[in-house]
């Protein structure tokens, strides 16, 4: 077996100083960051009352709860749960649609290629950001104060918080649209509205439809929890059963949610492929 010649380390060092002699600050940056992250973690664990004893007894408790959950059993309230699940799906569908309808015109105002003036665009963007900064559950609490307990408050909460998210996403989609088609419309004598309708919308609508479908899917998840604060749907039943420690019903409800989310997932993926084509998604 032939022996390879020994590499000349001194010469290599001289030739690639960046690799061999990195400055101390660069070499220390990574360990320092890890130590800092770990330090904050330890501080957090202490500050948040973590203790091995609590963790152990909690785990023990959790083990019991898991055992009690088996087998999942709805008892005699299956029809109520099915109705609640229908309510949840309705909330998600309706809330998302309302949000999309209202967000489309507003997103035009937040898009750089439609409103070039920073002065007008900036407040619209910050307004949308503030709406997004507040969680759906908080909006649900506010709407309950306005229209009372029930699924309608949930619809409005989802519509409002998605309005903020859609406004941002749609305006990004509009900004990413191709300018050439808009210019073509302008060259043939179209006015600003024509440009939006025939130049922009055909490009943007499929993207928007994909996003709306994705949100219907993710809102099915959000809609399951807004019931916890009293805004209707299956979350109401879930929170109630957890409070009265009916663990078999709890596990059945969680299973129902999982199945429903998986079903909606499947449907919306199929629809998305149909709308924007297989390749655009992957």
């Amino acid at each position: 077996m032939s022996q390879l010649p020994k590499p000349d380390t001194a010469q290599l060092r001289a030739r690639y100083p960046d690799v061999f002699d990195r400055p101390a600050s660069a070499r220390l940056a990574m360990p320092a960051m890890i130590v800092a992250a770990f330090g904050v973690l330890v501080f957090g664990l202490v500050d948040l009352d973590f203790s091995p004893a609590r963790l152990l007894s909690g785990m023990h408790q959790l083990g019991w709860i898991t055992l009690m959950m088996l087998p999942p059993d709805p008892g005699s309230s299956l029809p109520i749960y099915l109705k609640a699940l229908g309510e949840t799906l309705s909330i998600a569908l309706l809330g998302t649609t309302i949000a999309a309808v209202f967000a489309l015109p507003v997103s035009l105002l937040a898009a750089r290629n439609i409103i070039p003036s920073n002065l007008l665009r900036f407040p619209v963007r910050r307004f949308l950001d503030s709406i997004r900064g507040v969680d759906t559950l908080i909006w649900a609490l506010v709407w309950i104060n306005v229209v009372g307990l029930g699924p309608f408050a949930g619809v409005l909460a989802i519509a409002l918080s998605d309005f903020g998210a859609f406004g941002k996403l749609f305006s990004e989609a509009i900004e990413a649209a191709d300018k050439k088609q808009v210019e073509g419309i302008r060259a043939s004598g179209g006015n600003a509205l024509h440009e939006i309708r025939f130049g922009l919308m055909p490009q943007v609508l499929p993207v928007i439809a994909g996003q709306v479908l994705y949100f219907i899917e993710s809102n099915t998840r959000s809609a399951t929890i807004i019931g916890i604060v009293g805004a209707g749907g299956i979350g109401l039943q879930l929170a109630e059963q957890i409070r009265v420690l009916e663990w078999q019903k709890v596990s059945f409800l969680i299973l129902m949610i999982l199945v429903a989310v998986a079903a909606i997932d499947w449907i919306s993926t199929k629809l998305r492929f149909a709308i924007i084509g297989q390749r655009a998604v992957a």
Binding site: L41, L48, G133, L141, N145, A239
Partner: protein, 294 residues
């Protein structure tokens, strides 16, 4: 104006127009049908969700006036005229806000570490066995699909009231979400370095450490930071079910109609979320370049 556009002879034009109209009418029919189905679904949903437009119109004034009320102090002045009175509880709120941030930090870090430990088993190209991949994937899916607050509700009963339940709930949910994203990064990684390391006789663990990890660690950190942003929002509502953080204070203020407190706490939450968004955005841009966001 004289037309400079040359037109085709009428009989040729006729045929083309016919074909065009036929093609368009089929498309329109499909669109109309899809719209009809969608509208029908909406109507069914509206009935299911007990939508009552009259309630909305009657009480919509309430929604507007609610913001009027939460922006008014008890003595009838606007809140911004007396900041000391508006943020009277700032010491308590800042402390709770700090707790919220800690909850999301500890939760995100724990979740990221767990996801890191699991994701190589869930990725198609690095998993040691298909059955293991199946099990891990279903586990992650479960952790991701059950909302964090449902975990929090259950953990509050198991671990007692307090931030611990919130941390664990956020950690589990983050494990599910990050595990999926991490394994997708691994699936997109280049396999040639793995073959290179493999050919030197390295074990599976060394392959992951020296061939996969250097390619994916930047993506991991980016997603973990993004998750931290999301978790700050999530942690701000954990208090609704008694799992610690500022949510507890907020839900009390909303339920007991302490109007100016509601706006003060909301403002602190929104400002915090903004600041965190900007900081993590800046950090990500610094660490991984501008396009790490997508």
């Amino acid at each position: 104006m004289t037309s400079a556009v040359s037109l085709l002879p009428p009989q040729q034009l006729e045929v083309l127009n016919d074909a065009y109209r036929k093609a368009v009418s089929r498309k329109r029919l499909r669109l109309t049908l899809a719209t009809a189905v969608f509208v029908a679904a909406l109507i069914v949903a509206a009935i299911g969700a007990e939508v009552n437009l009259r309630t909305l119109f009657t009480y919509f004034g309430n929604f507007i006036s609610y913001f009027d009320r939460i922006l008014t102090l008890e003595d009838g002045h606007r809140v911004w005229t007396d900041l000391a009175e508006w943020f009277w509880g700032w010491q308590k709120w800042l402390k709770l806000l700090g707790e919220t941030l800690l909850i999301s930090y500890v939760g995100t870090l724990t979740g990221a570490v767990l996801a890191f430990a699991l994701n190589f088993f869930a990725a198609q190209n690095t998993s040691p066995g298909p059955w293991l991949r199946f099990v891990i994937r279903r586990l992650l899916e479960f952790a991701r699909t059950v909302p964090g607050i449902v975990f929090a509700l259950i953990f509050v009963i198991a671990f007692g009231l307090g931030p611990m339940a919130g941390v664990l709930a956020i950690a589990i949910h983050s494990t599910g979400a990050l595990g999926k994203l991490f394994s997708e990064i691994v699936e997109n990684a280049d396999m040639k370095p793995v073959e290179g390391v493999r050919s030197t006789g390295a074990s599976w663990l060394s392959c992951m450490r020296f061939a996969v990890l250097p390619q994916v660690s930047a993506g991991y950190a980016s997603y973990a930071l993004l998750r931290f942003e999301i978790n700050v929002r999530e942690a701000s509502v954990m208090g609704f079910v008694g799992a610690g953080g500022i949510g507890q204070e907020l839900v009390v203020a909303i339920r007991k109609f302490y109007y100016s407190d509601v706006s003060a706490i909301l403002v602190t939450i929104i400002v915090t979320v903004f600041v965190i968004d900007i900081c993590t955005g800046w950090l990500r841009a610094r660490l991984f370049g501008k396009d790490a966001r997508s």
